[in-house]
């Protein structure tokens, strides 16, 4: 089993645990952001009946970080969501290294390709 990196159960268990830690950490951030958000906005009236893209303040990574600096509840929630989104992406990155150690270059290539698709989706231009 030595040369098969991914057959090594220990490494898979570590990877699985990392994912769980990522989920718990991001949910904690969302929870804290949620409390701050509720303490500030709880009496406001919701308005979600019509989708209006211009109404969402934190729709880019830059805006989220700007909101974080003033400890805005909504920005903290979005930051937690962002952490959550990048949790499975880190697994792809780890897998690429795993295949690299295993010298399985076909799968290094496949992993890099998948990562590129996700990075391309980071581009604002796709939204139109």
């Amino acid at each position: 089993m030595g040369k098969h990196y991914f057959a090594d159960k220990d490494i898979q268990v570590i990877l699985g645990t990392l994912l769980r830690v990522g989920v718990i950490a991001s949910m904690l951030v969302v929870f804290i952001g949620g409390l701050i958000y509720l303490s500030g906005y709880s009496r406001e009236i919701i308005d979600y009946s019509v989708f209006n893209p211009s109404k969402t303040k934190y729709s880019s990574i830059l805006a989220i970080f700007q909101g974080l600096s003033v400890l805005d509840g909504k920005a903290i929630i979005q930051f937690g969501t962002l952490l959550l989104i990048f949790t499975p992406v880190t697994r792809v990155v780890f897998s690429i290294f795993g295949f690299l150690i295993e010298r399985d270059y076909l799968y290094v290539l496949i992993g890099v390709f998948v990562l590129c698709v996700i990075l391309i989706s980071l581009s604002n231009k796709l939204v139109g």
Binding site: V13, V23, Y48, A75, Q78, Y107, S121, V127
Partner: protein, 287 residues
């Protein structure tokens, strides 16, 4: 709709509490039946609370990432995920999920509701039907060998080898599953099962865990597109994600000691009702 008028002037606090409770139930039942939380939370938000379907989709996809990544640790311990199959099929699902997420706003919300209803009906049928394991150990497929997809997994009676069939067919079906996932903000587990169990003929244990492995990455690809478009609203995503994840965690603990056969039948009826509601409202232009 009458229900809409009741909730039309709801405060943030009341909305958060209702969505939190609903998302908890969705996560609980979704994990007990294997249907997933997203397919329940979207009808709840749109039909009951009058939330625009684009917001509901954005919140749902975040909960898909949370539940699939959270349960990955448990799956990985069983050591039967085929990471090569997962990575290989992610080529199809990430591309198509991004495409789905891009085109979703150009489609009339009514049509999205109709497509959603059809997928719900299909998922309900898949849930109650008896599963048949088509797997065998014939490892002669040219593509399966080239991409090193054939594998083995441990059982009580020793290691069982399995061969992967119809790689092209499975890849195409996965592409479709990714489009639906990006379009509707759900994990589209039912379609992935068709691709892996019926077309590629993987053993159940391998297909379930590998599908879960892929779901987080696929959902992340479309979630980024949604985030940039403003479809992920913190006020909805917060209670949805926290509720679904908590419900799913409780559900997975209960799953070990509960017989879910009866629950699945009852739930199939509920889901069918929700599906018909979505289709009706979609066609009537009410969503």
């Amino acid at each position: 709709m009458i229900v809409d008028s009741i909730f039309v002037s709801m405060s943030v606090l009341l909305f958060t509490i209702i969505v939190l409770a609903g998302a908890f139930l969705a996560g609980l039942v979704g994990s007990l039946t294997g249907l997933g939380g997203g397919v329940i939370i979207i009808p709840l938000l749109t039909l009951v609370l009058g939330v625009d379907i684009h917001y509901a989709i954005g919140a749902s996809i975040v909960s898909v990432i949370a539940t699939s990544s959270g349960s990955a640790a448990a799956y990985v311990k069983e050591g039967i995920t085929n990471i090569r199959i997962g990575m290989f099929l992610e080529i199809a699902t990430t591309i198509s999920a991004v495409i789905g997420a891009i085109i979703t706003v150009y489609i009339n919300p009514g049509y999205i509701a109709v497509i959603f209803g059809c997928i719900l009906l299909f998922s309900a049928a898949m849930m109650v039907r008896k599963k048949v394991d088509h797997s065998d150990d014939k490892t002669t497929g040219i593509l399966a060998n080239f991409f090193k997809l054939n594998g083995s997994y441990p059982t009580a009676g020793g290691t069982v080898k399995y061969g992967v069939h119809n790689v092209v067919g499975g890849f195409i079906m996965m592409f479709v599953a990714g489009i639906i996932s990006g379009l509707l903000g759900i994990g589209s587990g039912a379609l992935k099962v068709v691709a892996m169990d019926n077309i590629m003929r993987l053993p159940f244990k391998v297909s379930t865990t590998t599908s879960n492995f892929m779901m987080g990455v696929t959902a992340a690809a479309s979630a980024i597109v949604y985030l940039h478009r403003g479809q992920i609203d913190p006020g909805i995503a917060m209670p949805v994600t926290l509720g679904v994840l908590t419900g799913a965690t409780v559900g997975s603990k209960l799953l070990v000691k509960t017989n879910t056969d009866k629950l699945k039948v009852i739930f199939a009826v509920v889901v069918t009702f929700l599906a018909l509601q979505m289709i009706y409202n979609g066609l009537a232009g009410k969503l």
